[in-house]
Symmetry: C2
Subunit: 252 residues, 2 copies
């Protein structure tokens, strides 16, 4: 059973995951990070030892690599052959190919804030190179989340792509709306109930049924009026492309 | 004071608004609608008389026109000179120009479902052609919502445009993600906590700070991988355009 877990990284995902593990009474002997400031802070929160030396790893059952995708391969090379996973949605499991026990723990969530998050509600995708280790990872996942799935790298990548579209792109739409309102000296607060309600509706029913607006209705007059109002040529392009696709989707 | 309100229309906004008025103990003597099926249903819910005859209006303090933007002008022409408003985000108030007392009650929300909605939380934008009637409308607004604003047609149109971007476009992003997952035999449920959390974060802090994902990080490798994975050429175009704009926004 996995009881002692070493965390590599001290960014948002490392922090949220460490705190969730700690809350589930798992032991984090060590935080390893290149950033001494965030690394020391996290090691204090998790009551663990901080180091930035990858050759000085304390006894552990599992290493969780919570760093940017770009650096995963180079970090793996400098690690001894201890059971290890990464937390990336888009990095293949076979980056670990030379090690004995390895896998992935990918939480389907974006971590970028100081806001509290209930890890128990976050779906976690597990993958492993062998069954026994996979069962250990699932067991660990079950301790921090109520929704644990076993999925291969390909399916995980599909989920990651759809998560980028559903979350990162929708957030960018909120940002465009905010910037437009700022310019008109109108308060973004006006849209907040609408944003929350739209997300809730898509989740309770189905985003196909939840769609509203001029493009859904095929109201070309309003679409043209909006395109004229948008001075920013990039936002105009986005408005046009998304409206064209909504018109197509609803056969207007 | 406005006590008796006639509703024209029996679609989603007519229904949600009528029920909110009814709940605030306002009297709805009559529902006027071209659609006898939804019109009769709504008149039962509001304990009012149904008619599809615009020449047969019972005594009333206010007519609220809750119909598609395209038909507002023609309906106004067939109405007697009773105080009246429409509920559109994008139709100018001056469509009423020949009448004595007129205005707008625009709730910033999209109504398209059978889901319950708490009208008290919906911001309502009010506009009117004279001060006395405006005060009556504000008073009415305050009875159904905690957030009532007085705004001119131009500002209301800006809000409507930003609402389309923030809500309709983000919902369409959810829909693209769902369709992509459906194709891969993966469950849309996996994204639901992420969608809710993303909306909450944008509302609690600021969508600029909430942005995450490959484009925010400037991770061109993942962006290219995703573009290859997306077979649909339209979705590819949307992914590319939004990512380019996020890259620009964050100077990557």
């Amino acid at each position: 059973m996995i009881k002692k877990i070493t965390i590599i990284g001290s960014g948002n995902i490392a922090t949220k995951l460490s705190l969730a593990l700690k809350q589930s009474k798992l032991n984090i002997p060590q935080i390893i990070s290149r950033n001494p400031k965030t690394g020391l802070l996290l090691s204090k929160q998790t009551e663990s030892v901080f180091t930035n030396n990858f050759n000085n790893i304390l006894p552990t059952d599992l290493i969780i690599i919570c760093i940017n995708d770009d650096h995963i391969c180079s970090v793996i090379k400098s690690l001894p052959d201890i059971a290890m996973v990464h937390t990336s949605g888009s990095t293949d499991m076979n980056v670990f190919i030379d090690k004995k026990n390895y896998g992935v723990i990918y939480p389907i969530q974006s971590f970028n804030t100081n806001l509290d998050i209930d890890f128990q509600k976050i779906p976690i995708c597990i993958e492993s190179n062998n069954k026994i280790f996979g069962e250990k990872l699932i067991n660990l996942g079950n301790q921090i989340s109520k929704k644990v799935f076993y999925l291969n790298s390909e399916k995980r990548k599909h989920i990651h792509l759809s998560a980028v579209i559903a979350a990162n792109f929708s957030n960018f739409c909120y940002l465009i709306a905010k910037k437009y309102l700022d310019k008109q000296n109108l308060d973004f607060d006006l849209l907040k109930p609408l944003i929350i309600e739209t997300a809730k509706k898509a989740v309770i029913q189905n985003p196909f049924l939840s769609q509203t607006g001029p493009a859904k209705r095929g109201d070309q007059k309003i679409i043209n009026q909006h395109l004229e109002m948008l001075n920013d040529k990039n936002y105009k392009k986005i408005y046009k492309l998304l409206s064209e696709n909504i018109l197509m989707e609803y056969g207007k």
